[in-house]
């Protein structure tokens, strides 16, 4: 059974419908809202599977269904739907993970008063993300992209009565909007130079040969090809959404939202959008690769940003004490990997890692949620501990997620996808620095994940709440188990020996595997590095678990300054507050000052031209502007008085005026030469 491409819109439409139902339902209809959301998501999953089936029938084809949105002059603004293996794989992943997260949420959010709203927002979030996936138009993609931003704003700020949550929501929206403005400009430029925003349109789309050729052949400022400039602007959007350096600051704060939201943001929906966007427009990003003379390739920037982010995220994660914050920085780091993969030219590796990461990161976050739920909203790993025995399922699944993320060899999906990225980075001709950074990040990743697990699950319970923690209900554990299965199994879709996933994504009908030993050297290296990370982590945190609540971290004892700086997230927030924040505040103050005093003052000056008045007093805004009008009225009154003084009632003075006037006029005539 195949899904016609003209029905692809059903995938985002069903969750949207569920969101609508939940929005309109009365507050008390909790079951209806949650049921609608979950049912819609599962239905969307089924349709996505159909779509995948359809797409795999001819992996190389781009199935499109375009339609007109509104008229523009003689033509029209056209949008469209797209179905190819990339879309289909992503849709299946998102709907699957989201379904599980939704189910988990029914347990996690059980006690919340705004339960109904939560499912409304969740459905909207998922719908927007699915919209990004099926869009065949950069404009449609941008629309959904912004809706993702809106939904994330609502969800991060879901507990809006907490000032920190409200602030985090605003920060996320504003930070990503900075990137979005770049994306918007790139979109405008693209529309202006190609006249279209459709990706594929029977030869006229922006990702097709004709448009790419013309974009790459034009040169703009700084000798860049137009395609490079547009690519970089679009990449700005991805940097914002995917939490890349230097706009990564919102992502760790985003864990102010309920944990299922974090899981959704970090795994399936929001941050994945940036990677997906670059993968989607990859033909455009890589259009300048064929040009040898351009000063910069767009993908080079992507690779370096990715590498910096991967290293930065992993480093900061080492010193975080909040369980969700550690995971948040690990997301930053992993997204850096994906960007690195995109930058070095292996977008399929990026998507492969995106898919596997979605599973194990959702697993980790839901596991963390499970812990937090059980421990009465305790998130500080120093105050947890010893949960291994009390929460067996959570521990087992969390450990699987941790090993997948660390890249423990062979069994776990993270190993294979990370391996693909490292392989691609190794083969990159431009520079080996990103490869080096990625290797360091591998060690660090294994290290901080070991620390996280050791602190949380081993040792003894360090607070009373932790003491009384117990395993959660099946609503919350079953999703964990399902995700754990995925976190293991998914890796086998793309092993170097049988890279089925990669081949399908690339649209190749045949799968060409390589024997494992071809890349055995690199693989051995990464296995060793993982082992080093795990071993170090276990040596420092696992062998002698923390006993006291306030015991100093062993690393902090060794290098207090470094750890403190890392714990403070290297001061990026402070830096931005001191620079950008100041700049904006200063801009606002200046604008307001200009408005109140300079423009208002100009009006005043204009008004005072009629009168010779000296002293400017009481210079506040209101009196300045209105004073100006008063002055005008005054001067009218004064001149009126002067005229009335001239009306003396004395005919002789009138006569004198007439005589003088006559003289003056005659003089004018005579001197003017008019005779």
């Amino acid at each position: 059974m195949h899904l016609p491409v003209s029905l692809v819109w059903l995938i985002p439409a069903l969750p949207l419908l569920a969101a609508g139902i939940a929005a309109l339902a009365p507050r008390s209809c909790r079951t209806l809202a949650a049921g609608a959301a979950i049912a819609a998501m599962i239905a969307a999953f089924v349709i996505s599977c159909l779509a995948l089936h359809t797409a795999l029938a001819d992996p190389g084809a781009k199935l499109v269904a375009n339609f007109e949105w509104f008229d523009v002059g003689a033509g029209a603004m056209r949008l469209g739907w797209l179905l190819d293996p990339l879309t289909a794989f992503m849709c299946v992943m998102v709907t699957f993970v989201a379904s599980l997260i939704f189910i988990f949420s029914t347990g996690y959010m059980k006690a919340d008063a705004n339960f109904k709203q939560f499912f409304c927002f969740l459905s909207l979030f998922a719908a927007a993300m699915l919209g990004i996936l099926v869009a065949n138009s950069l404009l449609l993609l941008f629309i959904c992209w912004e809706l993702v931003g809106l939904a994330s704003y609502l969800l991060i700020g879901f507990w809006f009565h907490k000032p920190s949550a409200a602030a985090a929501a605003k920060k996320a929206f504003i930070t990503t909007r900075i990137g979005d403005l770049g994306l918007l400009l790139g979109l405008l430029w693209l529309a202006d130079s190609t006249g279209s925003l459709l990706f594929y349109d029977g030869g006229n789309g922006v990702l097709e040969v004709a448009a790419l050729g013309s974009l790459a052949s034009q040169v703009t400022v700084g000798g860049l090809a137009v395609s490079t400039a547009i690519g970089l602007l679009i990449f700005c959007g991805a940097v914002g959404k995917s939490g890349q350096f230097p706009l990564h600051v919102w992502l760790p704060d985003a864990m102010e939202g309920p944990t299922p939201v974090s899981a959704l943001i970090h795994a399936a929906t929001m941050v994945a959008a940036g990677v997906f966007l670059i993968a989607r427009v990859y033909p455009l990003m890589s259009a300048d690769l064929a040009l040898p003379l351009v000063p910069l390739h767009a993908l080079t920037v992507v690779a370096f940003i990715g590498a910096i982010t991967a290293l930065l995220g992993a480093t900061i994660a080492v010193a975080q004490n909040d369980i969700k914050r550690v995971l948040a920085f690990s997301t930053v780091s992993q997204l850096g990997y994906m960007m690195l993969a995109l930058g070095v030219g292996s977008w399929v590796a990026a998507i492969f890692h995106l898919l596997t990461h979605a599973f194990f990161k959702a697993l980790l976050f839901l596991g963390a949620g499970s812990v937090i739920h059980a421990a009465h909203h305790e998130q500080d790993i120093r105050r947890l501990g010893g949960l291994r025995g009390r929460m067996r399922i959570t521990f087992a699944t969390f450990a699987i997620g941790m090993m997948a993320l660390s890249g423990v060899p062979f069994l776990f999906s993270g190993f294979w996808s990370k391996e693909a990225i490292l392989h691609a980075a190794h083969g990159w001709q431009v520079s080996h620095l990103p490869f080096g950074a990625a290797l360091v990040a591998v060690v660090l990743t294994a290290f901080y994940m070991t620390r996280l697990v050791a602190e949380t699950f081993f040792g003894t319970a360090r607070t009373e709440e932790t003491e009384h923690a117990h395993e959660n209900s099946a609503v919350m554990t079953v999703p964990l188990i399902l995700l754990a299965v995925g976190a293991v199994a998914l890796g086998f879709l793309g092993t170097p020996a049988f890279p089925w996933l990669q081949a399908r994504l690339l649209g190749e009908p045949e799968v060409h595997g390589h024997p494992l030993f071809e890349s055995a050297g690199l693989m051995m290296l990464s296995i060793v590095l993982v082992a080093v990370g795990l071993g170090a982590g276990w040596a420092i945190y696992g062998r002698r678990p923390r006993v006291a609540l306030d015991a100093v971290d062993p690393l902090a004892k060794a290098a207090p300054g470094v750890i403190a700086a890392l714990g403070n997230r290297l001061g990026f927030d402070e830096l931005y507050a001191a620079t950008l924040g100041r700049l904006v505040t200063a801009g606002a103050t200046v604008a307001d000052f200009f408005d109140r005093y300079v423009w208002g003052g100009a009006v005043t000056m204009l008004a005072r031209l009629g009168e010779f008045a000296g002293v400017v007093n009481r210079e506040n805004d209101e009196s300045a502007i209105n004073g100006g009008f008063n002055v005008v009225s005054e001067s009218f009154r004064d001149s009126g008085r002067a005229y009335s003084r001239a009306q003396s009632g004395e005919p002789q003075s009138y006569l004198r005026f007439i005589a003088t006037g006559f003289v003056v006029l005659m003089l004018l005539v005579i001197l003017g030469g008019g005779r």
Partner: protein, 506 residues
């Protein structure tokens, strides 16, 4: 619609209502006078819908024309007509005006006089949108000031008297420039008729005739017309009257001022300045583009620094109207047909959309003000969303629409403006992005301070929306979503007109 003078009916029906209210108001009682006011105001919407049903969108010319000789000595005709642009604004007036009256439902002080003055204002605005002869166009234009003045002065806040005087004197000064300029035009050409003048201008004869006046006259006339319109719109830096006026006016009137009256200025730019002075506008375009950008950026940043919510929304209004002007000036300054089409469609959409979203925002601030006993400082509230979730939801939709979130109406217009401006003046689009950023920042700050956070003691007695308030906001919110998803509903009306305009560009 063969012989029925439907446009005259449209203009004078609100005035008829005003007449009834003014003469019978005391006998009617508060409630029934409110209802009469609402019905007369709603007549515009009804008639506008009738017109919409009979409107031929494919025709770019004027329709439903009424033309009668009036003052033959001056060659002044009573001349009404309607094209896509006018229809758009008439629809907007029909939608927003009754809601303004609904938002003023709780006014206790002489409600019949309030409604009568408001209806006068509404009729004058409709007259401006439909008149095709300068003479009575200007009558309507200036007549709108009189009721506005009294509405602000009598029903406004503490500083209302001062704000009302400032508003009237400032706009009157602009109007005087306009009048003198048109007197000079009439001397040079002997006609007041917009269509005839536009034809003259298109063939280059207008410039030739004005040049006969000699010297600097053509430039002076252009500047006079420009000043009159720029003050009304307002174009930066002629906007200093606006924040105080919008802040002090009662919120129903603020809704009308920002929703409809600011459009009168933009309408004037599109209907008068651009067709009559294409060459001058082209020459001045880089400079004017700078001014419009100044409005976009300064407006947004100045809003960021406001603590009075009404002033903040007022500045956002400057910012949004500047987008329309930005598009127009970009079109006047460069030639690129597809981009010009996009920019003009965007500008027209933005006029309509801003009318909806700004009116909704002012209504929301007015409701906050009504609940807090007149306070509207950004720090006076907190946690309102907990107590009034429905209100928070409606206000949120209005805010995000104003912020240009895709899926709501604001986005389509702004996107088309940006897309057009980028094709005409890329640097301007880049700079204007700063305005988008600051808009998001101050609106979210507004939202965060007022609706989020712990519930403050000051707002503890807040209640959610009552029936009248829901009735006020619901149509706006529904339209925001509807037009965000299906902009073709509006674009279909204006696209042929814009296509014609663009085809006449040099």
């Amino acid at each position: 619609m063969s012989s029925l003078p439907i446009l005259s009916l449209l203009v004078f029906a609100p005035w008829l209502g005003a007449l009834v209210l003014a003469s019978l108001g005391n006998k009617l009682g508060a409630k029934s006078s409110r209802v009469v006011g609402l019905l007369s105001s709603g007549s515009t919407l009804g008639l506008a819908l009738v017109i919409l049903a009979n409107f031929a969108p494919a025709g770019a010319g004027y329709q439903f024309i009424e033309r009668h000789s009036w003052i033959s000595a001056l060659r002044v005709d009573y001349h009404l007509g309607l094209d896509g642009l006018s229809l758009l604004l008439v629809l907007l007036t029909g939608l927003v005006s009754p809601l303004c009256l609904l938002a003023s439902w709780k006014i206790q002080r002489a409600p019949h006089h309030f409604a009568a003055l408001f209806l006068l204002l509404q009729g004058a605005a409709l007259g401006v949108f439909l008149a095709l002869d300068f003479f009575h166009w200007f009558l309507f234009w200036e007549l709108s000031l009189v009721p506005a003045f009294f509405l602000i002065k009598i029903w406004g806040g503490e500083g209302a008297t001062r704000a009302a005087y400032q508003f009237v004197i400032y706009t009157l000064a602009g109007g005087a420039c306009l009048l003198l300029a048109f007197a000079a035009i009439a001397v040079a050409t002997g006609t007041f008729n917009f269509t005839e003048l536009a034809t003259l201008a298109a063939s280059g004869q207008l410039a030739a005739k004005l040049a006969l006046l000699g010297g600097l006259w053509p430039k002076v006339i252009f500047i006079g017309v420009f000043l009159g319109l720029a003050v009304k719109a307002p174009l930066f830096p002629f906007h200093t009257w606006l924040p105080a006026t919008y802040a002090e006016a009662p919120s129903g009137v603020s809704m009308f001022l920002t929703g409809i009256m600011s459009k009168m200025g933009v309408y004037g730019f599109l209907r008068i300045l651009w067709p009559l002075f294409p060459a001058e506008l082209h020459a001045a375009a880089p400079c004017l583009l700078g001014l419009a950008l100044g409005g976009v950026v300064f407006g947004a940043f100045a809003a960021l620094n406001q603590t009075d919510l009404k002033r903040m929304v007022a500045y956002s209004s400057i910012n949004h109207v500047s987008y329309c002007l930005l598009a127009l000036f970009a079109v006047a300054g460069a030639s690129n047909a597809p981009a010009a089409t996009a920019a003009l469609i965007g500008a027209l959409l933005q006029m309509f959309n801003h009318g909806l979203s700004a009116a909704a925002l002012f209504a929301c601030v007015g409701m906050l003000e009504a609940r807090s006993g007149g306070r509207r400082g950004i720090h006076d509230f907190g946690g309102v969303r907990t107590l009034a979730p429905l209100f928070a939801g409606f206000c949120g939709v209005a805010m995000f629409s104003s912020l240009g979130l895709p899926g709501l109406n604001g986005f389509v217009g702004e996107f088309m403006i940006f897309s057009g401006v980028f094709g005409l003046a890329p640097w301007a689009a880049g700079v204007a992005c700063l305005g988008l950023f600051a808009t998001a920042l101050f609106l979210l700050t507004f939202w965060q301070r007022v609706f989020h956070g712990p519930t403050g003691a000051a707002v503890a007695a807040f209640r959610d929306l009552d029936r009248v308030e829901i009735l006020t906001l619901l149509p706006l919110v529904v339209l925001m979503v509807l037009l965000g998803v299906l902009p073709q509903l509006l674009v279909g009306l204006i696209n042929p007109l814009v296509t014609t305009w663009v085809s006449q560009l040099p």
